[in-house]
């Protein structure tokens, strides 16, 4: 009963928030709505017993990704409304809904038709976080390390792309001395 109430509340909230993201004209509204939607998505993870994922969702998405977007927005004019000229609205909506349903159907048909056996069944009396640690550091150790390297590469790429060249910009001390 409580599960049903929580599920429907969270689904309405998430769909509403993401609807604001997709249809809003203001970049700041869209960003705030996206942050809210991410937090509500973590509610689904707690509902599904995936405690670790719920916490990671809040920390990584709302804490890191949205903060990064907020910092990135300081480079753009985000206060004014975005002007977009959109053509072919009907075609876009029908195509996107059809393709999404088609993708879901392709991905989910095997799940319904074939009796799937769990490859790594959950063990009783072991918490979710402990079990994720057990699997992550045994079966999925190599992808985990590759993800770490990928994050390092992404961090360095982000710094190199956005950095200002040190020798070209005057530092505060040089400006104060009147050298530049």
């Amino acid at each position: 009963m409580f599960e049903a109430i929580a599920f429907y509340t969270f689904s309405i909230l998430v769909i509403g928030m993401f609807g604001v993201v997709v249809f809003s004209k203001n970049a700041l509204y869209a960003m705030s709505a996206l942050a809210g939607g991410m937090i509500f998505i973590s509610g689904f993870f707690f509902l599904l017993g995936a405690d670790f994922l719920g916490v990671v969702q809040i920390i990584v998405y709302t804490g890191a990704v949205m903060a990064l977007y907020a910092f990135g927005m300081m480079f753009f004019d985000s206060a004014k409304d975005i002007k977009e000229n959109i053509k072919y609205k009907k075609i876009i909506y029908t195509l996107s809904v059809l393709s999404a349903i088609f993708t879901i159907f392709i991905l989910m048909a095997p799940i319904y038709s074939v009796k799937i056996e769990a490859m790594y069944p959950t063990i009783q009396n072991v918490g979710n976080i402990q079990m994720i640690g057990l699997i992550l550091f045994t079966k999925y150790l190599v992808p985990f390390e590759l993800a770490a390297i990928m994050l390092l590469v992404a961090m360095i790429a982000g710094i190199v792309l956005v950095k200002v060249k040190m020798e070209e910009t005057p530092t505060n001390i040089e400006v104060a001395r009147g050298e530049k």
Binding site: A4, F7, V14, I15, F18, G19, V21, V22, A30, L34, G37, I41, F44, F45, L48, G49, A50, F52, L53, V56, Q57, V60, Y61, V65, Y69, G72, M73, F75, F76, E84, N85, K89, Y93, S96, V97, S99, A100, I101, I104, M108, I116, A118, M119, Y120, P121, T122, M131, I132, I135, L136, Y140, A147, M150, L151, A154, M155, A157, G158, L161, V162
Partner: protein, 100 residues
């Protein structure tokens, strides 16, 4: 009683919203937001399948998807800032350089 189908339908609705955003939006920042919605929709589906089949692989995949999303944002925003410095706009149509 909430079944797997409920979660998959929700995941499908969120995915459609994300695709509508990707196709409809002309602003590159909004395009990034829409891709985040797509990734989140898939995450919910994975977690639901993982719960109803008693298998943890779905949760592990969601975890990797989250890490991919984080690195995508870092590189993507860097490129976006660079493009804005060069061209002064983040409109998608400004990327059309080859007139065909």
């Amino acid at each position: 009683m909430i079944t797997l189908t409920h979660y998959l339908v929700l995941s499908g609705i969120l995915f459609s919203l994300g695709i509508v955003g990707v196709l409809r939006r002309k602003n590159l920042l909004m395009l990034f937001f829409s891709t985040e919605i797509l990734l989140n929709a898939v995450n919910v589906g994975f977690a639901a399948v993982s719960k109803y089949y008693g298998d943890l692989s779905g949760q592990i995949f969601s975890f990797f998807i989250i890490s991919i999303a984080a690195s995508e944002v870092a590189v993507g925003l860097g490129l976006l800032v660079l493009w804005y410095k060069r061209s002064g706009t983040i409109d998608l149509d400004s990327l059309q350089m080859m007139k065909g």
